[in-house]
Symmetry: C2
Subunit: 230 residues, 2 copies
DNA sequence: CGGAGAAGTAACTCTCCGGTTACTATGTAC
DNA sequence: GTACATAGTAACCGGAGAGTTACTTCTCCG
């Protein structure tokens, strides 16, 4: 900044790799969305900075407002893309092909691995729930992005009941919340947990233990008879 | 603002109830901490506003900086008080007096009810985990606030094993994470869940169902034999 | 009483941030 | 090649927010 012909320096910096920096609307927009997701995931909605997003994207605020809109629109867009991503992953599970017990183990393991591989998703969910889903509720497309997962769980449960593998009367949505919960809480609260209890839970061993435990809990529940109510 | 003798108006407003507004350092500080917790819980760390905290406390920024310090110190203080609160609750559980199965049911139910009664705690945990426990790690007293709960769980587990009620080899910390997780996820992600799936989960019936399910899952796991590994 | 020091007020500063504007560069249709 | 639309740049603006300062008021001790 402030050096005579700064305009050209900027240009050269972009060309440092030798490749000419040509116009490319699609790439610019994609870069902006990627940068926005990184920023919102790192700092939350209120902590995210428009200037930093533009910088991360190798672009500038003018383009950001041009392609996507203001901070709200940018965040809503990131949220929508995230849900599209997740639904795509869920559709690729193909649980129906497996035996019920294998299908359920796979689902619990997949959920755990998915949270591990995509920590940004947990942070985005956390941010959006702090906002009481204000933006998600406003995204019209979200209703069309109906999750296939409850339906898949229902089918596996019915097959498992019929085969005598699973207990009867399990509600698919409740089971889904349990499956997500036993993994989600571990990842979402890992930082405070490791301060309050034990750093070991962050280790690779701690993660493997947690994964095995999560599967164990869900499968024990499904494969046991309902307990006599107290 | 800007009306001649504005100073006096302010004073009178405070006296509106007729009671003289006398100096009271303890009350002022307490009001500031209460207001700060409300503000951080509502808006998160980055979203919280010092001016609003001062206003909520019926005080002003000068006093806020005087008694507690800057935003960081205020947040760290809120965090510490929250953990003290929680630990106090945990100590009052007295699980040792009950039969192992009753004790464990009580713990799961208590955890659920506690999250329900104290939604601020979930939001504060969420905020602090977004910050990767940056502030919690810096609070020196936190190490002295060792949680009694893992020790209590261990004792109940051992009693239950000895009585033949529970399976053997359950890790107390893993069990704690499961117990917390099956309730926490429901409350922390209720907003996005009810947009993505079903508004019913927010209803009183939905809550009761969830509570029963959480107890069912944990007790089934504890009271069943380990499954043959695949 | 009187004055020292703490409690409390409000206006101010300075930086940062979301959003805009005025401008330049590039590519393409004719 | 030139005009027009789109891509891109950077300086700017108004407002807000964290933290400070100059000041007034209360309380209590000697």
């Amino acid at each position: 900044m402030g050096e005579g012909t700064g305009r050209m320096d900027q240009k050269n910096a972009a060309n440092a790799s030798g490749k000419a920096r040509t116009r490319d609307p699609e790439r610019t927009e994609r870069n902006i969305l990627i940068a926005a997701r990184e920023e919102f995931v790192e700092y939350g909605y209120q902590g995210a900075r428009i200037d930093r997003i533009a910088e991360r994207a190798g672009s500038n605020k003018r383009m950001l407002y041009h392609y996507v809109g203001n901070k709200d629109a940018l965040y809503a867009r990131v949220l929508l893309e995230a849900y599209k991503d997740i639904r795509k992953g869920e559709r690729q599970l193909h649980l129906g092909r497996l035996q019920p017990r294998d299908a359920m183990e796979r689902l619990v393991g997949f959920t755990f691995d998915h949270f591990q591989a995509n920590p940004w998703f947990i942070r985005l969910l956390s941010t959006e729930n702090m906002l009481r889903a204000r933006y998600l509720a406003e995204v019209p497309e979200i209703k069309d992005l109906h999750s296939p997962i409850i339906m898949q769980i229902r089918e596996v449960l019915e097959a498992g009941e019929a085969a005598g593998d699973f207990r009867t009367g399990v509600d698919p949505l409740q089971l889904y919340i349990t499956i997500a919960g036993v993994s989600y809480f571990y990842f979402s609260n890992m930082y405070t947990l490791s301060v309050a209890f034990n750093d070991d839970i962050k280790s690779e061993q701690g993660r493997a233990d947690r994964r095995a435990h999560a599967i164990d809990v869900v499968m024990s529940f499904l494969c046991s008879k309902p307990l006599a109510s107290k």
